[in-house]
Structures are given as structure tokens and as C-alpha cells.
């Protein structure tokens, strides 16, 4: 029972991180129909920026996270303006290739400054809470709590503010949004900024439990893609639910089946699901 | 020629096409009109096999094609054009058309590897067919032009030629005259008459009423997925239900 609860906690922690990353990815997809392969690179840059702020500038964890979020948000906006905006009417293969270009560039730049070493990020939440034999890492508790706060905040933002409403409107009907005079450029930039913030925060939350290195985004982004396909591309609740499914599958699979193969679980799941249902698990409508 | 019986297509809980029965005679120009979102394109997609109908039957010259896949329907002689046709922009008009006859050929990878007699003969035939179609639509002079360098009207004609190169019995044209000027519309209308004169059956979706009224032998009117009227241009024009449907919904559709 204790091990089971331990895996539940681990699954929740992992699922929260995956959910946050997938949320940014699904927002961009829902609004701009771009599968942003560079999203994992934004996540990686987020971790390095926090590391930089903490180690080289000596600021507190929270300040570093905020700084990193700002930098990555701006980076997201720059990508949208310089790359995806000019490609909005190109054949669908082009934006994917451009996203790969961004990914390669960001990784090379980080590699140039920090090398390919694995780095450890410190956190003020290094302790462990022993709950009747179940070990809850404080960082894990922080991750779960932050995810709840972020998801609630994002929901309030999308539902209660004018800007949020325009984002939703555009996600539901792009042509219609143009007709009622929504500034598509602003919405696009806003979406990329939010997506960048989510990536940076997720990276900063997870980095202390993991390591910081230039290729750290690869696995995460691919799992995030699996998640948004599972949850339906563009669906916000789908991203969270999908994140949890993968998080739990990995925590339990890693413990009960094989730790070496736990990274394959997500992809194997995707292969099986798409083989049976090419439109994804929760996809709606005929298109 | 083409007979549709009680055709229905549901998307989610919505009926895009609802219990439509109609018969289009051979060697005629048949038009489908209706406000935006009336289910016209869905109707075409059902006939050509892109979507499977929820219920109903589609008969082509007596053959049941209701559940056939798109490529089979095409092989039975249903050609079609789309509202926008994506072509290979940096290839010539002729190069774009040669593939039109592919469905009448059989060469596979092995023929390619050994450059078989069959492949050579079929490629020659496909090229001739493309030239023939190009000649039919009056674009022979442009055969070496890149698609990227063609005007909107020339693209429309290339799309026609591509459909014709499949050796169809019936062609489904989705808004063939959208985006071209009145003079060019006239030219495209002439082209449709020429198709019928050459033994083809034409079926088109169009918003340009002047053109429809001038050339159609028969018009079917769809509204919210249902057939609300059919008949000659004269009959349809004076049908109060049709007038109501057009005035009652968005006006730009009737423009």
C-alpha cells in the first residue's frame, strides 16, 4: 500500500509537469495550428535561464523563475513574429521544418554558453516529508500545488478577461474571429507568450528533481505531443488529463514493469492508440 | 445518369444533408444552389466518395456507388474540381495534367525499374490525354507555363482539364466561376456547354445566378441540408420557397 501511494504521488508530480508543458503546446496548436516542435527547446531555455539567474546573479528561486518566465515569453513572441507569422500561408510542411530550425538553434546557443554538462539546480524546497512511510519530496508538493494554481489562473484568465475571451474565440473559429474584428496578431503573440511562461515555469519546477542540460527538452516535448494527441489537439482539459495519464503510466510502469523502458511507455501508448483510433482518444467531430 | 435516393449525412448530431432525393439526367447541365452552409459541398463529397453517407443510396448509371471509396468512384467516371485546386506550382501546366490519366494505367514499381514497354506506352497515352484535355479547355498555348505564372482563370481551366483527363462520364464542379471576372465567367460557361455537347454530364455548385440561369437545364435548391425545390431555371426563379430561403438567410450568398 505504501509503495502504491508513493507511485500515486510520483505520478501526480510527473503528470503535473507534463500537463503544464502540454498545455502550452496545445494552446499554440489550438489557435495557430502549428505543431511547435521548438516548444521543448523553450522549456530547456527556461531551465537554463533560471539556473543562470540563480547561480550567476545569485537571486532567489522565485525571482529566478519569474525572470526566466519573462525571457522565455519574449522568446516565444519573437519566434511567432519572425518565423511563424511569415509562414502562416505556407504549405503545412514548412512551419514544422521552421520549428525544427528554431529548436536546433536554441540548443546550439545554450550549448555554446553552458556546454553539454549536466548541471544540478538547487531549490529552497529540498526536504522530504515522511507521511507514514510515503516519502513526499517538498519539490513534488510544490509542483502539484503550482500546477493547480496555474491551471486555475489560466482558466480564470481565459474565461473572465477580454483578452482571454478573444483567445478562446480564435481557437474555436479562426475565420469567424477575423470577421468580428479580433486582432489575430495580438492573440498569436499572447498565446506564444503564455505558452512560453508555462514552459519556463514547468522547467524551473522540475529541474531541481532532474538535471539541467541542452538536450533535456527532447523527451519532454515528445511526451507533450503524445499527451495532446491523447487529449485532443487544442483541448485544454485534454492536456491536463493526458498529462496525468502519461505521468501515472510512467510512475507505475517504471516501478512495476521496468525502469529502463519507462520512457517508451508514452510512445508505445501513442502507437497503440493511434493504430486503433487515428483521430486520438478524445478527439471530437468529423474533422 | 446519377440517381440519389434519400441521402442523409450526419456530422455529430447535425444533418449536413437531410433526406435528399434527386435525379440528374445524362448530357445536361445540373446546378445545385443554396445559401452558405446548405450542404452543397457535402453533397458533392458524398457522391464522390469522400464521405460515407449515414443513410440513402447513390446510383451511377444503375451501379450502386454508395459505399465505394473515392478512387473507385473516380475510376467509374466521376471527375471533379474543387473550390481551390492545389497544383504543383513550379511545374508546367502539361506536367500537372499527365497524372490525370493515371487511373486508366497499371504500371507499378517494377515497370519503372525495367522501364517496361507497358510503362512507355502508358506514359505516352497519359501525355496525349493531357494534351487533348488541354486543347479542349483552350490552353494549348500555355502547356509549358508554370502553374505559378498562370492567371486565376487559367488555373480554373487547368483544374477542368485535370478532371477531364480522367475520362469521366460526369463532372462535379465546385464553384467553377468563383474569383473570376464576368467576361471570364462567360468563357467558363461556354466551356461547360462544350462539355455537354461532347457527351458529358455536368453538375455544378455555383453562386453566380446569372450564369446558372443562363446555362442550367435543371436546378436543385438546398437549404439547411434539405432539398427545398428543383426544376428548370424558370420554375426555380419563381418558386416562393426559394425566394424566402434566399431572402431569409445571408444575402451575400445570393449575390
Amino acid at each position: 500500500m505504501t509503495t502504491f501511494l508513493q507511485q500515486v504521488f510520483n505520478g501526480l508530480t510527473l503528470g503535473s509537469i507534463y500537463g503544464l508543458v502540454a498545455l502550452g503546446l496545445t494552446l499554440v496548436y489550438g489557435i495557430l495550428h502549428i505543431p511547435n516542435f521548438a516548444h521543448g527547446a523553450l522549456y530547456m531555455v527556461g531551465a537554463f535561464m533560471s539556473y543562470f539567474f540563480m547561480v550567476d546573479m545569485g537571486v532567489h528561486y522565485w525571482v529566478a523563475m519569474a525572470g526566466s518566465a519573462v525571457v522565455v515569453a519574449v522568446l516565444g513572441i519573437i519566434c511567432e513574429r519572425l518565423v511563424f507569422h511569415p509562414l502562416r500561408n505556407s504549405p503545412p510542411i514548412h512551419d514544422k521544418i521552421a520549428a525544427i530550425g528554431i529548436l536546433l538553434f536554441l540548443e546550439a546557443v545554450v550549448h555554446m554558453f553552458w556546454g553539454s554538462d549536466f548541471r544540478r539546480m538547487s531549490t529552497p524546497f529540498g526536504g522530504v516529508v515522511n507521511l507514514d512511510g510515503v516519502f513526499l519530496r517538498e519539490q513534488g508538493i510544490l509542483i502539484i500545488a503550482s500546477t493547480v494554481v496555474l491551471v486555475v489562473a489560466l482558466n480564470l484568465f481565459l474565461r473572465k478577461t477580454m483578452v482571454g475571451a478573444t483567445i478562446i474565440a480564435m481557437a474555436q473559429n479562426r475565420e469567424g474571429a477575423f470577421l468580428v474584428g479580433i486582432d489575430a496578431n495580438r492573440v498569436a503573440m499572447m498565446t506564444f507568450a503564455i505558452s512560453g511562461i508555462l514552459a519556463a515555469v514547468a522547467a524551473t519546477l522540475y529541474a531541481p528533481m532532474n538535471l539541467v542540460y541542452p538536450a533535456m527538452g527532447h523527451l519532454v516535448i515528445m511526451k507533450a505531443f503524445v499527451i495532446i494527441i491523447l487529449g485532443g489537439m487544442g483541448s485544454i482539459p485534454g492536456a491536463i488529463v493526458g498529462g496525468m495519464i502519461i505521468g501515472f503510466a510512467e510512475a507505475f510502469g517504471g516501478y512495476y514493469i521496468s525502469d529502463a523502458y519507462k520512457d517508451i511507455i508514452a510512445f508505445a501508448l501513442l502507437v497503440v492508440i493511434l493504430s486503433i483510433r487515428p483521430q486520438g482518444l478524445f478527439a471530437k467531430g468529423a474533422h | 445518369m446519377l440517381k440519389v435516393e434519400h441521402l442523409t449525412k450526419m456530422f455529430g448530431g447535425l444533418a449536413a444533408v437531410n433526406d435528399v432525393s434527386v435525379e440528374f439526367g445524362a448530357n445536361q447541365i445540373n446546378a445545385i444552389i443554396g445559401p452558405n452552409g446548405a450542404g452543397k459541398s457535402t453533397f458533392f463529397n458524398l457522391i464522390s466518395g469522400v464521405h460515407q453517407p449515414t443513410s440513402g443510396r447513390i446510383l451511377l448509371d444503375g451501379t450502386d456507388v454508395t459505399t465505394m471509396r473515392c478512387d473507385h468512384v473516380a475510376r467509374l467516371g466521376v471527375g471533379r474540381t474543387f473550390q481551390t485546386t492545389n497544383l504543383f506550382e513550379t511545374a508546367t501546366v502539361l506536367d500537372n495534367l499527365i497524372v490525370g490519366h493515371r487511373l486508366r494505367t497499371h504500371s507499378g514499381l517494377w515497370d519503372v525499374l525495367i522501364n517496361s514497354k507497358r510503362l512507355q506506352a502508358e506514359e505516352k497515352a497519359a501525355r496525349e490525354k493531357a494534351r487533348e484535355a488541354l486543347d479542349f479547355v483552350g490552353l494549348t498555348h500555355a502547356e509549358n507555363r508554370y502553374i505559378a505564372d498562370c492567371t486565376q482563370e487559367e488555373r480554373k481551366r487547368v483544374a477542368f482539364a485535370l478532371a477531364l483527363a480522367t475520362d469521366p462520364k460526369i463532372v462535379l464542379l465546385d464553384e467553377p466561376a468563383a474569383g473570376v471576372n464576368p467576361e471570364e465567367t462567360e468563357g467558363l460557361a461556354e466551356l461547360m456547354k462544350k462539355m455537354v455537347k461532347n457527351g458529358l454530364t455536368v453538375c455544378l455548385i455555383e453562386h453566380k445566378m446569372d450564369m446558372i440561369m443562363g446555362i442550367a437545364d435543371k436546378i436543385m435548391v438546398l437549404d439547411h441540408g434539405e432539398k427545398i425545390a428543383e426544376g428548370t431555371p424558370e420554375e426555380v426563379k419563381n418558386n416562393p420557397v426559394v425566394i424566402e430561403a434566399y431572402l431569409g438567410s445571408d444575402h451575400d450568398a445570393a449575390a
Binding site: 509562414l87 521544418i97 527532447h218 | -
Partner: protein, 344 residues
């Protein structure tokens, strides 16, 4: 002037000049290392030709392509090193394995459209990489495979040496280019391009989408397997990093620079970039700082690449100069011009 130079390049004889240069290259090269680099570039070019078939002609962005290269390499590596096969039987087996796996993966993945297909194949590529890395009983895991057999030679020809193996690889490259040109010009190639133009339109032309997409996919994975098998035979060491997704990204760069969907694009792009990186050794580690933005700039401003831009420019120039087929006596001449264009 430029046009005349271009016409010279497009002349049917130029490809024989190119071939002659490739044959003479070991004599012209200043050291054996250059021959080695060129041979490696040829191997990548073969793989990029495969990528061009599925992505360039057929329009399906297959991000598992590098994975199939690795499978070809590992097939030869494991069959020769662990099971004592000779190179050539293992080579044939590698082609069969990549073709069969290509068929299986294609049959599942090609039911998906556009983004879904790209994401799905990205995951397949990653599964291949993870399996190579983790499945130690079969693949030796992270330490990789040593002791791979070299291609068996004949007479005095020994493929353990750089120069003979260079000619062996050149032979396969020429074969692949020849075969691809056959496909491109044929009705089959036109069928692939029709699918790239759009699924709906292709279907309305009576084209069986799945059958043709799977065929293109199998051709492409077999090319990748061929390249991988040659790679294993030449380098004689393989490791999981050969299945890294970055190789697929590299191939995308080669193809885009050279010209996606053109016959000589893969060759121009691969050789061009491999030699540029070679001559700027210090760049090796940071080359993506240049190539990343280069990819972006290419898709935004020059999506046709070197080869495609050149052909388009030549065609327009020829049209403007009135070299069109207006007169009957010019017909034959124009036909050859068109053939050249198809060849190019």
C-alpha cells in the same frame, strides 16, 4: 550570360562530367581523409534521396527516417558481428528488414494526416533510438557494436581500404540517383506528387492513397536501410547515437538547402553542407547556430532550395526568351529541353 551557363549545367552531358569527377575524385584529393569524408557524404546523400521520396515527392514529413538508417546499420552490424554472417547476405537482410518494417510502420502511420503523421513518426524515431539504447541483449546497449564485417571484396579489391569502399558507395549512389530519376519521370512519381498536392485532389483522380503512400514510404525506408548498411560496412562501428533524431534533422537541412522534391537537390545539399562543415572545422560543434536559422530563412524565403530555385529561374528565362514550343520544327528541341529539366 548566366542563362547560357545555366543551359550548360542543364545539358545532358553535364551529368557524365559530374560522374567523371566523382570517379577521378580519389586521384584529385590531397589525402585519403578527403576521400573518406566524401564517401560518408555519399552515404548520407543516399539516405536523403530516400527522405526526398516520401517527404519531397509524396509530401509526408517522415521524422523517423534517421531511425530506419540506424536499423539498416544495426542489421548489418548485429548479423555480422554477433551471428557471423558475411557482409553481403547481411546487407540484403538489412534491405529486407527496413522494407518490411517500413511497410508495417507505414501501414499504421500513413492513415494519419499532416501534423499527426509528423508527430507519430517523430515518436517512432524516438522509440527506435530508445530500443537501440536500452535493449542490451540484442543491441549491446550504449556501448554499441564492434567487429562488424567489411564488404567482401573480390580479386585484388579489398573493401577494408578507403578507396575501394569509396567506389562501392559511389556505385550505389549512382544507382539510387538513376532509380530515383526513373521514378520521378514516371507515372508513379507523378502519382506521388499528386498526393503531395493534396489528398482530396489525388483521390478524385482515382489514386489509391494508402497504396501509393505506403509504396513511397517503403521505397524511402529501403533507401535509408541501404545507406545504413553501407555505413556499418564502412565505419564498422555502430552505436545508439546513430539513431539520434538529430540525424533526421540534419537530413532535413540537406534536403532543404539542395532543393526539396528535385532530383539533384539531395546530392547538392548533402555534399554542399558536409564540405562546408568540414572546411569550417571549428563550426562542427556550433554549426546549428548557423544551420538552424538557415532552415528558417530557407522555408520563408527560398523554399525551393538551390536546385529548385535554379530550375525555376531557368524555366522562366527560357519562357521569356520565347523558347517555347510555338513552331513545329522546334518541337523536338523543346522536348529534349524538357527531358533535361526532368533529369535535373
Amino acid at each position: 550570360m548566366m542563362f547560357k551557363l545555366g543551359a550548360l549545367i542543364m545539358h545532358p552531358a553535364s551529368k557524365y562530367v559530374l560522374l567523371a569527377l566523382a570517379v577521378l575524385f580519389p586521384a584529385l584529393a590531397s589525402n585519403e581523409y578527403q576521400v573518406y569524408v566524401m564517401a560518408t557524404a555519399f552515404i548520407w546523400a543516399i539516405a536523403v534521396y530516400g527522405f526526398n521520396v516520401i517527404t519531397g515527392y509524396c509530401g509526408q514529413l517522415n521524422l523517423a527516417h534517421g531511425g530506419f538508417f540506424a536499423i539498416g546499420a544495426y542489421a548489418v552490424a548485429l548479423l555480422t558481428a554477433d551471428y557471423g554472417w558475411n557482409f553481403w547476405p547481411a546487407f540484403i537482410a538489412a534491405l529486407v528488414i527496413t522494407a518490411v518494417l517500413g511497410f508495417l510502420v507505414g501501414a499504421v502511420s500513413l492513415r494519419l494526416k499532416e501534423h499527426y503523421f509528423a508527430i507519430f513518426t517523430l515518436c517512432v524515431g524516438f522509440i527506435i533510438y530508445l530500443l537501440l539504447d536500452k535493449w542490451e541483449e540484442l543491441t549491446h546497449g550504449a556501448i554499441g557494436v564492434r567487429g562488424i564485417a567489411a564488404p567482401d571484396g573480390f580479386g585484388l579489391v579489398n573493401f577494408r581500404e578507403t578507396i575501394p569502399v569509396y567506389y562501392l558507395i559511389l556505385f550505389f549512389l549512382v544507382f539510387i540517383i538513376w532509380f530515383t530519376s526513373r521514378i520521378q519521370k514516371s507515372l508513379l512519381g507523378r502519382t506521388f506528387i499528386a498526393i503531395r498536392n493534396g489528398d482530396d485532389l489525388a483521390e478524385s483522380l482515382g489514386i489509391n492513397l494508402m497504396k501509393n503512400k505506403i509504396l513511397a514510404f517503403v521505397i524511402s525506408t529501403t533507401y535509408a536501410g541501404l545507406a545504413g548498411a553501407l555505413y556499418a560496412g564502412m565505419i564498422r562501428f555502430v552505436g545508439p547515437e546513430d539513431g539520434n533524431i538529430l540525424h533526421t534533422f540534419n537530413m532535413i537541412t540537406y534536403l532543404l538547402v539542395g532543393g526539396i522534391g528535385t532530383l539533384f537537390g539531395p546530392l547538392i545539399g548533402t555534399l554542399g553542407i558536409v564540405w562546408i562543415t568540414q572546411s569550417l572545422q571549428f563550426l562542427e560543434e556550433y554549426r546549428m547556430i548557423i544551420f538552424g536559422p538557415l532552415l528558417v530563412i530557407l522555408v520563408i524565403f527560398f523554399p525551393l532550395g538551390v536546385s529548385g530555385s535554379f530550375l525555376t529561374w531557368m524555366h522562366r528565362k527560357a519562357q521569356a526568351l520565347g523558347l517555347g514550343p510555338k513552331k513545329v520544327q522546334q518541337e523536338s528541341k523543346v522536348n529534349t529541353a524538357r527531358e533535361v529539366e526532368n533529369n535535373a
